[in-house]
Every structure is written in C-alpha cells, then in structure tokens.
C-alpha cells in the first residue's frame, strides 16, 4: 500500500479506486456474521469455487 502522504493524488486515487477487474483467482476478505470472524478466501471468480480459506492473521504481507 502506498503512503498517502508521500505519493501524488493520482497514485493514491489509483490505489483507492482501481481494481484488477478481470476474471481469475482473487484473494477476498470475507466476514462470518455469527462468530464475527474476518477471514481470507482464495476464490475462483469464474467457476465460483473456493480454493483456500485462512484467518487474515495468517495472510503473508508480501503476497
């Protein structure tokens, strides 16, 4: 994530708004309502299959 104070408005806007919109495997944030747990799901957005799920604390920062 770029530092908002250090980059130009355009670079910050690109980080805030623009997305990788093409179909593929996405790492998504999901929230389990009953337990209040946030977790990460690796989701195939074409076949609608979940490949892997893990607690967000276990997500590698540099990925």
């Amino acid at each position: 994530m770029p530092e908002p104070d250090k980059v130009s408005d355009e670079v910050w806007a690109d980080y805030v708004f623009n997305r990788a919109g093409e179909p593929g495997i996405k790492r998504e944030w999901w929230y389990h309502l009953s337990s209040g747990t946030w977790f990460i799901a690796e989701h195939d957005t074409v076949k609608d299959i979940f490949i892997k799920t893990y607690l967000h604390q276990h997500m590698k920062e540099d990925e």
């Binding site: 408005d9 806007a13 093409e22 996405k26 998504e28 989701h43 957005t45 076949k47 609608d48």
Partner: protein, 413 residues
Amino acid sequence: MPYRLLRFALSKKYPEPQMFSKPNKLKKHYDVVIIGGGGHGLAAAYYLARDYGITNVAVLEKNYIGSGGTGRNTAIIRSNYLTAEGVSFYDKSVKLFQDLSAEFNLNLFYSERGHFTMAHTDSALRTMRWRTEVNKHMGVESILVDRNFIKEKIPEIDLDCGHNMPIIGALYHPPGAIARHDAVAWGYGRGANMRGAEIHQNTTVTGIDVKNDKVVGVKTNKGTVETNKVLSAVAGYTPHITRMVGLRTPIVVHPLQACVTEPMKPWLNAIVVSASFHLYVSQSSRGELVMGASLDPYELHSTRSTLDFAEGLSGHTLELFPFLSEIKILRQWAGLSDMTPDFSPIMGTTCVEGFYIDAGWGTWGFKATPASGKTMASTVANDKDDETIIPFNLSRFGQYELVGEKGAASVGH
C-alpha cells in the same frame, strides 16, 4: 388452414424479408469498430450512421446480438435519479425512448406505467424527497406521495408489509415505463444495418493493437482489421477489453439475478420498487411479473442462478403482495453487472487515442440505451466527449470527482 400459410410452408425460399443482411468476411479496414453488439453498441452504430453519415462501421459481437445485459435486464425505464448529471442524462434517454417504436417501425411494447419507489423508513423518505426536488428542478416529473395515493393506484398492495416495515410514502415518477428489451437491440441493429453498418456475430475480439498510445487495429478470431477508432460497449465483459489497451478501471463485476412468474391477467399497472426489501417488480404485456433484487454480494464472472435469490425475492414480494403465494416462478436467469464506486457509468474518451469506452453500467444500463448511443456516437464522431457525458469520464476518479448515484441506481442502500 389458410392457403397463404400452406404455400409458405411448402415454399423453398423465404418470401418474408430478413431483419438483417448477413455480412461477408471482415473487411481489411473500418472507420469505427464497435466491440459489443448489445443495445448500447448497436445504438452507437445507428446514430453514427444516421446523424454523422459514418457508415464504414463494424459491430463485433462474440455471441448473438443482445445476449448480454440487453437481453437480461428487467426492462425498467425511468429518469428519477439523484444527481443533476444523472437526471439530465437519463431524461435525455427517456425522451428518446418515447418515440423509438415509431422511429424503428418496430413495436417495442413501450408502456408508460408510473414508477413507485417505496419508502419504509424516515431516512428513505428523506432520500425520496431529495430525489423529487432534484428531479423537479431538472424538469423531470416526480412527486412525493402518501399511503392513500399508493393504495389507490395499487389496490392489491399490503402497505403494512406484514407489520414489519410499513410503507410511509413513496417517490412517484409518472414517466416510468417498461419495454420489450430485446427489441431495442433489434431495432437499433436493423436501423444501423439498413444504413450500411456491418454486424458480425460470433466474432470475438482477442486483442487491440496500440502504437504510440494510438489505436491502430483490432484482432479477432475471424481476422485482423485496421481502424483508428474503437468503441468498447461490452458492459460486464469490460475488464477483458480494458486489459487489451492497458487501462486500469475501478470496475468490479457481480452477477445480477432476475426472474419471471407464470402469466396472470393484468392487475399491476405500476412499476413497484422497494429499496428496503431490495426488490423491483412490474407486470409485462405477457402478464408475467418481471422481478429483480440486489446484486449477488461477491465478484463472479458467471451467469449462474441460485435458489437463495428466488427464495429471498419471493419472501419479500409476498410481504408486499400476500395474495401471490400460490403463483409459480417460471424462469430465472442472471447477467453480469460492471459496478463502479459511485454507481455512475464510465463514458467517453480515454488516455489511449482512438479508444472510447462505454462501461460501468452496473444495474442501470438498459434505460440508458438511447442516450448512451447518441452521446457515444457524438463522442466518437467528434473525438471529443459529448457535453452530457463529461462528468462520467474515466478520469473523474483520479480527480476525486465521483458522481454519487447509489441512492437512485442501486436497490439496496
């Protein structure tokens, strides 16, 4: 059996006129290539030919015309939006729609019904009031109405919604209408085709050639064409195309489901929307209730249908119209909604010279078909954003100048 019908059945050649001419192979060069043979793409081709005399145009459609969003929406036409920019744009579209059947000499079953957006809470009523005032200011007919007015126009409605979330008022928009959505694509297509534009179905674009930030050609599965102007009008498939020219956009694609019930005798004249229940319903000229709800809440590039959509929508519909409990759902389907952060479209020129974009249509694309065609034709012909669509340029995100239409474009908010 009528003699003419028997003769027709036995004839070897089709004596009836075909709606479109079958084009030959792709030519080597076109003045404009339009990617996407839906309502928007075909409308742009139509106005380019009719208003600018630009007829050396190819519309490339990977499937059959109108197979995308144009054939999958719930066909509601209205202009009761929240922002001045939005209202101005959609009003232009409604006015074009009103004369379209006559212009095409094709019955679009355009039917003005009156459109209700129900308010079930004080904050919703406040938004309806806000929209009414903006609409009136822009010369669009919208009124804030009370429970008695609603009950008079829709006698079958349960205003108390099972005592859970009673309706306290509504935004009533008399010009609200429905139409036969596929016919809009056919009408624009035939009109463009008649004037010289070519429509190539089963033609997939596999790449766009860009040299020195300028468009020079398009690669397809049926050959390569040279061109300096490409218009992308593919809605839910936009990320495939923007990747080809190296453009980044905020678009995220979600499925939007819809369904129809079995036909009934006409009882619902108005179009009914409930933001709190996330549903919209109208009765088509065939007697079916055409119904939709909110987006599926996750990214997915598939037009699959789910049971939870049908269950959820039915449950909420019965809160408004309890007498429908025995009615069956006949058919359900889905389309792809290319969503933007401000629920407004992305239209006009881009930083790639000769690449024009008509996208970000989310759940608000069908009603925009005529205005989108007209303004994009103007933009492509003049290589300059049409005045009406300047606020919708892709560059607005870089300048933080979003046009926030969530209150009027999305059902659930």
